[in-house]
Every structure is written in structure tokens, then in C-alpha cells.
Amino acid sequence: MTEVHKLLTIVFETSDELDRESEVYRRLISARLKYEDHFDLQVTSENLNTSLLTSIVGGLETKYVLFVRDSHKIPTNFLATVIDYLRSRTVYLAEPHMYTAGIPRDVTATKMEQSYFYARDTDIYGVAFNTGRLRDALEALGDIDRSALYVSFRLYWSIGTVKPLPVGYSVATNTKAAIGSQLDPATPRLFPMVSTNSIELRTYMVRFLAIYLRGLRGEKRTAVSTAHLRDLITTFKLDKLVSLVQPLQPFEASWITWLTGSEKSAFLYKQLTEADFYLQFSDAEKPVTGDVDLYEIEFSDMDVLINKAYLSHKVRPSYANPAVYDFYSRSISPNSSIIFFDRPMQADDNAEYLYEYFTSNHPEYANAYFALNPKSADWTRLKAKGFNLIPIFTRDFYEKFLESDLVVSSQIYNLRYKGKSLENSRFVYLQHGIQLNDMSDWIISKYFDVFVATGKLEADYLAKYAPSETLNSGLPRLESLEKITQEGRHLLFMPTWRFNLNQVSNEHFTNTEYYRAIDGLMTDRRILTYLEKHDVTLHVKLHPNVESRASLFQFSQRVVKSEASYREAIASADFVFTDYSSAVLDASFIGIPIAYYQWDSNDFFLDQPYESRLDYRTEGLGPVFDTSDSLIEYMTSEKYLESSSEFAQRNERFFEGVDPKRINAKIVDRMLSL
């Protein structure tokens, strides 16, 4: 008797143990109701790399194989749509409409155009491959990284276009585009050199290349050669598509152009007031000198140096061209329009404080605007304060942006309108807080004329990458921050977020170390007793990403959920502690004692897109606790009320250079001189 094989194997990749309550898992297995005979589900908790994938595929007997990751999103009809399609035909592959965020209700309305292709994640996930053909292809593509297998498969079988199925799939994150991705270190090449004219595939390739180069800035070393990259770029004419990379990844766009074999080594990156910022690329054997060394990247055939140079305006190709407007050619004057904004839905941050200072101290600047979403709760408040509000990201906002001489914000957005961008115009970046982590790759990638730092430590760190742009003034919101005295004692706990928990089910969430550490502390009998005995209240300010799961935490009479703004919550507290949040530094700035409770300090930075820069134990402005016991002991013995000369010294060193009474004045002086 002939054995009848099922149609499809789902390889379900989990990062941890299988979360059977997760939405994606439930939606997959719910298809068993009708399609049990058609598919198998294979769970793997190992990271799928090419060799594991080859071995899995080698053992499959189903006609098709589809990979799904537990952090991704699928609609309820996902599997049914795929199976219905595959049942009646033999194809190389079938794929859904791919997204990086929410899946629209009607995916067929998504236009299959270059912007879709460029935004699309091209990993293997969500795509049903013909198992036999994947197996064949893998024999040739065994040295290709998993993340490039989908594109390589299409190149190998010359599949120039694919009509997606009328269903969506979301990888639920777009951080790859921002932080890059890293290949298996042994990977010698990105794609096979199987030529194609498909603009779709070429778009995927240029995106992949940009993301790979972005990741390489973190990794610093690759088994790929620059010769291979040049071959790729010229064979697939990827240099013609570099304009797709430019808006969001200008660093990588310059890099790709250089890799093409450009004679040029210096690429204009950002116009500035005194001299422009150029990225310079060179072979380490023939180095080009610059002002700031940024990277040394080891390719298999060459070490590439990347540095930053401040070069005279006259070097700029457009300098003597009247067709190109120089936004710096008009100095900032009381006639200038200046736009301030914080987050679109939430003001109450550095831009608001600076705007308030600026408009009351410089009333001659009549065209200062504060941009905000009118649906924000802050709109009415600021309106009442007499703010000159404009709705953010509207046509009117962009027209104002075009006309303006300066943008000042605590957020960095990729503003582009009618040829104006932050690349060719003035931008003062205020930040939301103080950088304690190593965000250098991010800092180098961003456009700003002024980067506001708080204290010498941070300023020195920033000046390593942006010496002429860094301003050690302190954050605007700190100038007016004052301790609020009130009846009764308040303690404040402000845990930050973990990126790897974005997609987990509530069931799974309550099993995480994150939840257990926080909730455990909130319900610890010693704490509760202490609070009760000393008439103290513990306020817990949950991270906005946890707000929707707030009900999972066991609040009580003494442990309450803080609904106040960060500013109010901090200013009214007598002691503030966090795991890693830099917001507690505001408290320290005004003399409120702080502490760190880092129950997962060994793993925390492994899962985050950045690394810790601050050594909390030697440079932190408060004690660091690894265990709840030590923290509880510290709290219940009221050690936090005792003054510490060590932390006072650290505090002084940390905030060195910040004049609490001249924070805003210092920023305004600098911004008006741009």
C-alpha cells in the first residue's frame, strides 16, 4: 500500500519553550479542524540556520514546507488560504502579502510597487516552499545565510515575480531595518550570482545589502569579501537602486556607492553651520584621514576604515549651484519660523520646556510653533497655555517645516518635504533622556546639528562621534524640575521594557522573569509590611508597552499604579528605583535618592538592540541590586534615606558642566547661532 503524504509541513520556530496560548500558535493549529489531513506541525526551539534548515527539509516528506516564527503574526485564515491554494497546483513557492507591522483587513488593496518591495522582510518566514525544489536549491545554496535563502531560492529558479496570495503575514517588527541584521559569521557570500532583471528581486537585494551593512557596523567582521559585494552591486545594478536606501539608511547608501568602486572616498552626510559632515571610506592600507574614526570593518579581503570628516562648504558639489538652496544661507532671525515638538501624541518633554522658555524669553520670535497631534491629551493643556500649536505631520506642518529655519525636538523623525530634510537643514536634538547605553551606531546614523547632552560623562561619550555637534547643557526639562513636597512618603518603581516580550501571550507573560520580578516585588510580604508600618506608598510606573497588561499585576492599597506623568511621579517621590531606565536620573538631578534593581543584568543587554555604556556599579548614581532580597533589605532598612558621599560625588561628576539655572539659555544661545 502506498503511503499518502500530507501536503504541507509547518516548521514552527520558538525562541523559548512553546507558548501554546500564543495567538500565532492557536491560529495555526485551529486549521486542524478542517485541514488536519493536509499538514503537520513541527516545532523547533533551535534557531533556524541554513544547516539546520537543510537537515529539516531533508527529512520532510510533504510537498511543501512553510516556516513560521512564534513572534510573528498571522490572520485566522492564513493556513486555510495557503493550503487551499497549494492543494490544486504544483508551484515553486506560494507567499502571502508580507508586512512588518499590522496586517490590513484587505491585503489585496496593498499595491505591489517598489515601496512595498523595499519595505518587505525577505526572510524565509510565511512563504510556502516546494520542499523538493528547496532541497535542490539548498545543495547549491548551502553557504547562503538563512535570511537570504528566500531571495536566493527565487534567483536560483529564476522566479522574477510572484503574485501573493490574498492573505497577510507579519514579522511584527521592523527593527531589522533600523539596526541591521547579522549573518552567520562563516557566510562567505550574500546571494548566488544568478542574474536577473527582476526589479522586485533587485529591490530585495539592495535592501538586504543595506541591512547587512548596517549589522556589520555592530559586528565589525565578516567572511564576505568587498569583491563579492562589488560583484553583486554591479551584476544586479544595485547602485541604480541606491536612492531607495538613501532616505532611511543614508550611511549605508554612501557605503554601497563607495563599494561600487567609486573614485570618491568622501560622501556628504549632513550639512552643518561651520563645515559639513562627510563620511569617508577607505582601504585600511590606503587610509584617508578624517576628524573622527568611526569604524574599522574587517572583510575577508580588505579592512575598511570609515571615518567622519568636517569639510569646508566649498567642497560641497552644490555649493556654487544656484539651483540648490542652502538652508544655512539665511541666518536665524526674529523673522524665522522655528518648529518644536516632542512625541506626536505626548508633549511634556524637553521640547515643550524649551519652547516655553524660548517664547517667554524671546517674544520677538513671533513664528515659533509647537507641533502635536490634536488628539493628544496635551493639546488642550498647551492651547490653554497659549502655545502656538500646529497639528503634527499634516500638510500645514510640512509647509511650515519647509519655510522654517530651525527644527527643535526630543524625537528624531525622518522629515522630508519638497527637497528639504534634516540632512540639509538645521535640527537641534534634545533627546528624551540621558544615554546610558552604547547607541553609537544609531548616533552616527542620525542627522542633527546639535545633540544635547547632560553632564560631562554623556557629553564626552557623544563627542567621540559628534564633537562639533555635542552641547553639554543638560535637558531642558531639568531646569524647572523641582521636588514636590507632599504629605506622606512615596516611593517610585519604574521598570523599563524588554523587546523580546512584544508578542507573547498573557499566559506566557506571567511566566516571564520580567513579570515575576516586578510582581514579586509588588507582592512581597516584607515590602508590604514595611509600607504599612511606615505609612509609605509604593507607586509603580509601568512602561507604556505594559499598560495593556496592567491588570496582570497585583496592585494593592500600598502598592498603587501611578497615573501621574513621569515628571510628577518623579518629583513627588522620596526614593526612585528602576531596573535600567534613565528616567531616574531626573530624580538624582534634583537630589532624590535612586537605586537599580537589575534582576536580569546578565542577560538584559543580550536581547536589547544596544549595549550598556554605563557601569552601573562604579558610575551609577545609586546602589545596584541583583536580587529582590538585597533591594528589599535596602528599602525596608530605609538606607535610601541616608546620604551617601560616594553617590553625591558620582552625581557631581555625572552632571558636571550642567548649570541648572542656564540649561535652556545655553541651548537657545547655541540654536540661534546655527
Binding site: 539651483a323 538652496y325 539665511r330 519647509l402 519638497k418
Partner: protein
């Protein structure tokens, strides 16, 4: 017998002789003047006699002259090459082969010849051809459709269509057409200006003249028989002004290229009228001295002997007429060293546009329509703000960038100009739009030249909108690049003279090249056939001498310098001006350098002899 039958009988029985007689022509014109729906026209149409009768309406040629239609069959191998049609060895027509409209033969219609026998004709290229000869002019279905669409009517030997207020106009706009492509199926166009609406023309009569003479137009200078048309057209114009009691100052003459030259020609007797011109030809013989015209219009003695547009325009400048003149420096063939250098002329506004001759009217259409609409109805001048000016000096040049207020920058369907004064003349240099809407700038081919753009004061950014709105923003900026003695260089638009009383200056500009000469000239021998141009390093020591050959009609001595990039043009212009057959260039004192010689030798001269001084001795 009804009238259709009468006509038919004339054609079939009395023969062509009678049909093409003056009586036959009048009758035919009367018939074709009836509405198409009339009984007679319907009858003709039914019997397919339309074309025969229409040909009878055409202008009568003197006895022994005929219209010919030349069709060249295998033109492709000859594409781009000149050809000549010879009648018994004598040139009757010539042109340069260009591809015809797709699907149509290469035809040249209405060549006037003096033989009815096709065997008398030959082509000087190895191409099969056929020739049709008749008493009536030739046309095409496309031309007939065009004429009908635009309402072109025949009035005697003059053709025009009427638009706008035809009953009680207060103003009159006269338009004259330019050339279409030389192989077009519609050889005779009108400048109808479709953008102008009935509302625009509520109080204005618009007369769109058609240049329906010879193979592609005669600049409305002569009819097919070579007789001047001036009085016939002038009478039509003055007929309108008299009938509607429209004063001359309420008459505007408009034309682009050929149309501009015609407009200048017919404005002679309307001294207070306005002229709106785009790239007119200032010297027709000079313009015709190129492959497309050399063997047709250039050969027409009647056209060359008429007073040339440059002479008329200089007269109008002296009269202080209102002239709005659009031109490009990349057009020395049309400009002929007049408009480029004209300054301190009252009521003259010069609009300099970049690009080639053929691109000017299209590029400046909004401004030209705006000027017409201002003529129809005076508009109030608006103002806006120029927020910032930057200058970009080059070697002897200046480009500028202006930032205007964002709101005004969004004005559409308009031309933006950098405006300055040249004495009493207003100068407007067209500008480009920058990447950002508020940026207006002069591009590389819009830059100002310190050598001859002695713009005393660049004062405004001016916007002319197609709807007639004019907006101005003061610049309030002192340009350093135009400072210094060179900017005060006297670059007069002096005419080139065959007889100078004392050393004269002559300036030439061709695109970005500026050249200037001093010279003396005199008439030598009335029966001469040659212009002799002697080049020297120093006009003072090389006095004009009559020590010349018998064939010399005019003698000119031209002082040159080390760099004479347009040296070929001065000789050519002198020859054309003189009407002489030959040009002799003489190197008096070894002054011509290799570059000069190369320029002179590479020129497409009709007849040229080069000598050194010793041979003159």
C-alpha cells in the same frame, strides 16, 4: 441651369483656360464662400467637384506660370541632404530632405514654375520623383480640415480667420504665423492661440492671418507670383480699424519667429500700436542663408529687396513704440545683433529666454498670454516678497538665486523673471524653478554676462501669469559681480554698415560667445560683385584703401584681436547685407591666427575666396 452645372460645364467644356480666368476665379471664390450646407456646395460635394472648384479659387498666376507639386519617392537614403529641383537646368526650388509625416509621401507643394511639361524637370539627387503641374494651387485633406477647424477664410489673395468680438470690438489683436515643420501636411498654419477664450476676447477682435504663399509661406511679403502683398494686407488691417473705429494704440501685432517678422512688417503704418514679438528674424536674407531656405526663399529677389525687419524695428524704437520682445541669445540667425544689445529704448521690454530658437515661444507662453490679456484688460500689479537673494559670480558672469515667500512661490502657469533696467529699457531674464518651490534662480544658460548685460540695476523679481496678473518683488540687493568698469562697456546694438564715415563698432553674440569688432567700410564700385573684407591687427595703420580689384563693390577693414570666435559671422553678414554674390576675405598683415583661419575655413560659405595681403598688392 443651376450654378453647379454651370461650374461643371466650365471645367469640362470651356476648359481649364476659362476656369482659371479671373472670372472663373471670382465665381469659384463666391461659391466656396457659401456655407457648406448651402444647396450649391452640397451639390458640388455630391459630384466630388469640391477640389476642382477650390483649386480655381487660388491666387491666379501670371500667364505662363504654374503651381507644381513635387513628390520624392525614395527619400530615405537622402535624409538630411540638400536637393534641388531644376527646370531645364535652372533652379526652381531646393530644400533639405526631411522625413515626411508617417504614412505620407514626401511632398513639396506650390512650387511656382514656368513650364507645364513634367519632362522639363530634374532633381539633382538620385531619387525617383514625380511632378504635377497645374493652374490651381495644391493642398492636402489635412490642410482643408485644419482651415475648417480654425475658420480660415479667403479674402481676395489674403487668408485669415476671425475670433472674439467680430461685431463691436474695442481692440484688435493681429496674429501672424510661424513655420510648421517643412514636410508637414499642413503647410500653412494660423497663430490661433487656443488658450485665449471667448471671455478673454469679449471686447477684442482677433485676426489670425495665414501665410498661404509659395511652398511654406513667403513671410507674407510676396504672393505666389512674387508681387508684394503689403498694400493688400495693410488695407485689410486698416479696414478693420476704420470699420470698428479702433485707435492704433488699441491694436496689437503678435507673431513668433516668421510671424514676428511679419508682424513688424505690417505694423509700419500703425505707429501707436503695440508689438508682441518672439524670436523674429531681423534680416530675412541672412536667415534664409541656410540649407532649408537657400534654394527657395533666399532666391526670391522680391523678399530680399523689401525693407528688412531690423530696419523697421530700429525705426519703431526711435518712435518709442511699445514693444515686448522675447528672444534667446542662442539665435544669432534671427537676432542679428539687435535685440541682444538694445538698451535705453523707451517702451521696450526685452525678455531673454534660454534654449534654442524653437523653444522660446513655448517656454514663455504664459508670459506672452499674460501680456495679451493685459492688452485686453489692464490688470493691477501685485506685490510679493523676495526674502533672500544670493549671487553666484562666475568668470565674467552672474547667476542668482532668490528665495521668495512660500505662498507666492506657488503661482502656477507663469514665468518668473529677474528684472532690471537698461536705461529706459526694461530687461527681464527668465528664471528657473528650484527644487524647493520658493527657490527661483538663473540656471547656467540663464546667466548674465558682465560684458554686455550692463544691467545698471537689477531691481525686481517679476512674475507674469498667463491670466495677465503681474506681480513684483523688489530685490533690494546690490550685486557685486556686476560692479566694475567692464559692466559699463558700451555695447550698442549698432547696425552693420556698408559705408561708415568713421570707425564703427559691431557686436555679435552667439549663445555664450560674445565678440566685438571695430571696422570701416566704403562703397567702391557700383558694378562690383564682391565684398572684400580685410582683417587687420590695427585699424589705425590699416587705413581703408581703394587699392582693390575691379570686382569689389564694397570694401571693409575689420580690426581683430587675438581671440575672434565669431570672425566668420561678420564677413557673412556684410556679404548678405550688400547683396553681392561673392565674399573675399583678406589677411592684411598676417593678423589671422590658426584659430581664425580654422573658423573661416569651416564655415559653409556660398562663395568665398581667401587671400593674403601680398595678393592684394
Amino acid at each position: 441651369m443651376n450654378i453647379a452645372k454651370k461650374i461643371k460645364n466650365r471645367v469640362s467644356k470651356a476648359g481649364k483656360e476659362a476656369a482659371y480666368s479671373a472670372v472663373g476665379r471670382l465665381l469659384a471664390r463666391k461659391v466656396m464662400g457659401l456655407p457648406e450646407t448651402s444647396k450649391v456646395r452640397s451639390e458640388l460635394s455630391k459630384r466630388s467637384l469640391d477640389d476642382s472648384v477650390r483649386r480655381m479659387t487660388s491666387e491666379g498666376l501670371p500667364k505662363g506660370t504654374y503651381y507644381a507639386k513635387l513628390t520624392i519617392d525614395n527619400w530615405k537614403p537622402h535624409d538630411g541632404k540638400p536637393f534641388r529641383l531644376l527646370q531645364n537646368g535652372e533652379l526652381v526650388y531646393g530644400n533639405q530632405v526631411e522625413p515626411p509625416a508617417r504614412g505620407f509621401p514626401l511632398e513639396y507643394r506650390n512650387i511656382v514654375v514656368t513650364s507645364e511639361n513634367p519632362r522639363d524637370f530634374k532633381l539633382d539627387i538620385d531619387a525617383e520623383f514625380s511632378i504635377k503641374i497645374g493652374r490651381g494651387s495644391y493642398t492636402t485633406p489635412q490642410q482643408l480640415k485644419y482651415d475648417k477647424q480654425y475658420g480660415v477664410e479667403q479674402h481676395g489673395d489674403v487668408y485669415y480667420s476671425l475670433r472674439g468680438n467680430t461685431t463691436s470690438p474695442k481692440k484688435i489683436l493681429l496674429t501672424f504665423p510661424g513655420f510648421g515643420p517643412s514636410t508637414s501636411r499642413i503647410s500653412y498654419a494660423v497663430s490661433y492661440l487656443k488658450d485665449l477664450t471667448d471671455t478673454d476676447l469679449r471686447d477684442t477682435l482677433m485676426v489670425c492671418f495665414q501665410d498661404r504663399y509659395l511652398a511654406a509661406g513667403s513671410y507674407m511679403m510676396v504672393d505666389n507670383a512674387g508681387r508684394p502683398l503689403y498694400s493688400r494686407v495693410r488695407d485689410i488691417i486698416s479696414g478693420f480699424t476704420a470699420r470698428f473705429k479702433v485707435a492704433n494704440e488699441d491694436v496689437m501685432f503678435f507673431g513668433a519667429s516668421k510671424g514676428g517678422s511679419i508682424a513688424i512688417h505690417y505694423a509700419q503704418e500703425f505707429p501707436e500700436s503695440q508689438l508682441l514679438l518672439a524670436v523674429p528674424q531681423m534680416s530675412l536674407p541672412y536667415y534664409f542663408n541656410k540649407p532649408f531656405f537657400r534654394n527657395n526663399l533666399f532666391q526670391n529677389p522680391a523678399i530680399s529687396s523689401l525693407v528688412q525687419p531690423q530696419e523697421l524695428l530700429r525705426r519703431y524704437f526711435d518712435e518709442g513704440r511699445r514693444v515686448d520682445y522675447f528672444y534667446t541669445n542662442n539665435d544669432e540667425l534671427s537676432n542679428h545683433s539687435l535685440i541682444e544689445f538694445a538698451h535705453d529704448v523707451p517702451n521696450l521690454t526685452k525678455y531673454r529666454v534660454n534654449g534654442v530658437h524653437g523653444a522660446v515661444a513655448r517656454a514663455a507662453l504664459p508670459a506672452m498670454l499674460g501680456l495679451m490679456r493685459q492688452f485686453f484688460k489692464k490688470n493691477i500689479e501685485k506685490s510679493f516678497i523676495c526674502e533672500q537673494v544670493r549671487e553666484f559670480p562666475g568668470e565674467g558672469t552672474l547667476r542668482i538665486q532668490a528665495r521668495v515667500d512660500l505662498e507666492s512661490s506657488k503661482i502656477e502657469n507663469a514665468n518668473w523673471f529677474l528684472e532690471g533696467r537698461l536705461g529706459r529699457t526694461i530687461f527681464r531674464q527668465i528664471m528657473s524653478n528650484g527644487q524647493h518651490p520658493f527657490v527661483k534662480f538663473t540656471a547656467d544658460d540663464q546667466k548674465l554676462f558682465r560684458a554686455y548685460d550692463s544691467v545698471a540695476e537689477l531691481s525686481h523679481i517679476t512674475v507674469l501669469e498667463a491670466d495677465g496678473t503681474i506681480s513684483k518683488a523688489p530685490l533690494n540687493y546690490h550685486f557685486k559681480a556686476l560692479e566694475g568698469p567692464a559692466s559699463k562697456l558700451d555695447v550698442a546694438a549698432s547696425p552693420l554698415l556698408l559705408e561708415t564715415a568713421s570707425p564703427a563698432a559691431y557686436n555679435i553674440v552667439n549663445d555664450e560667445i560674445f565678440d566685438h569688432y571695430r571696422y570701416v567700410s566704403q562703397s567702391v564700385n557700383n558694378n562690383g560683385t564682391t565684398v572684400e573684407v580685410r582683417f587687420t591687427n590695427d585699424l589705425r595703420v590699416s587705413e581703408l584703401t581703394t587699392n582693390s580689384d575691379q570686382d569689389v563693390a564694397y570694401l571693409a577693414v575689420v580690426e581683430i584681436s587675438d581671440n575672434n570666435p565669431l570672425i566668420d559671422l561678420i564677413g557673412l553678414r556684410l556679404q548678405i547685407l550688400s547683396g553681392c554674390e561673392k565674399l573675399r576675405l583678406v589677411d592684411v598683415d598676417g593678423s589671422l591666427n590658426d584659430s581664425d583661419r580654422a573658423t573661416l575655413e569651416n564655415t559653409d560659405w556660398a562663395t568665398l575666396e581667401m587671400r593674403s595681403y601680398s595678393s592684394v598688392e
